[in-house]
Symmetry: C2
Subunit: 209 residues, 2 copies
């Protein structure tokens, strides 16, 4: 396996439960629509940092490039939706990103570092799910996710390296705390099926939760 | 002259006053810093429309590409600032964008159409100023603005064509109203020198207004 992908899998606290992948296979429209929203939100998060941290030149250049790549992925997923006749519509957000954001400090520079760590975690999880989806989705979608997995692994590495760069103390303790939260968010039963959700709890209808 | 550039100049209600270009020549740091902010804000505006109009596929694809190009320009201007040793810092916004936004309807589809017309006007004015700046700035900056002028002319055409596409009535009356406002904003004396400001009123210090 590619070294970047290996690094992602070693970074994450756990694998996505097999049940989530089974549910992904039978919820392709929701998976793709939510994935399009996630790419757009990822670009939005990067852009918001460009507005806040004008005095961090390296961060500005890195995150602007990253935002461009997220937007290109958004266009690709959105095109896929159109090709498949799947309507792109609003979807409620999963608990995942908000659950991680709750752990972000409100005091600088921790606020920035924690936000960058959140970015690293989200990109790593996306990458891990892309790799798993390759095995359960039809060939055209599998190929699509194979290509995206490598980009996501690069974004993970970029976010992690930015977090290290701007931290004024070792990042490991906070990272471990956030990864514990992340493990619960992806493993415990969830109320709606989403790209970053836990497996849908049984007896809850899928779709627009 | 290139037909796209000609279309921009014919669209605008007036030329930028010569005094603004004279002031640009002597306020290069503020010009470049504000220009970087403008590219970032243009990306932000396009992105905000991606969040609001999920049911307009053509708009999503067009504006996502446009946002990517604005971000690339942001990186280029920001790189130029670094090369020239000019600090990138927060700057108060000029009255220009907020003056135009005041004319945007709060009722759909006019809200969308007026926002797209605002986009067309801002891109057209940027293009006209780029063309004028080529004549007054040092060679390296002149070449930079020559390249950007063509992109900006394309963005103008994209925004105008999107406004026409989503309008449910002729756009000309509202466009004329907005262009009248725009002419005042770029011609009347302003309180701070910015990329989209009017000429700085005499006896007012330049810089961070």
């Amino acid at each position: 396996m590619d070294a970047d992908l290996q690094a992602v899998l070693e970074f994450l606290p756990c694998r996505t439960p097999a049940l989530w992948f089974e549910q992904a296979r039978t919820n392709v429209p929701t998976l793709l629509v939510d994935h399009a929203h996630c790419e757009k939100k990822a670009a939005g998060t990067a852009l918001s940092l460009l507005f806040r941290y004008v005095d961090h030149p390296h961060l500005l250049q890195s995150l602007s490039r990253l935002a461009r790549e997220e937007l290109r992925h958004f266009e690709q997923v959105h095109k896929l939706l159109q090709d498949k006749g799947i309507a792109y519509k609003h979807l409620s957000s999963s608990r995942y990103a908000s659950g991680l954001r709750e752990r972000v400090s409100r005091v600088e520079p921790d606020r920035l570092v924690d936000t960058l760590l959140t970015g690293a975690i989200v990109e790593a999880r996306s990458c891990e799910r892309f790799l798993g989806l390759i095995k359960v989705l039809p060939a055209d979608l599998a190929e699509f996710y194979r290509l995206l997995a490598l980009s996501e692994a690069r974004h993970f590495a970029d976010y992690l390296s930015l977090a290290q760069r701007y931290a004024d103390k070792p990042i490991q303790p906070k990272l471990e705390e956030m990864l514990k939260v992340e493990a619960r968010l992806v493993c415990e039963p969830d109320i709606s099926f989403r790209f970053h959700s836990g497996p849908l709890a049984e007896n809850i209808p899928t779709g627009a939760g």
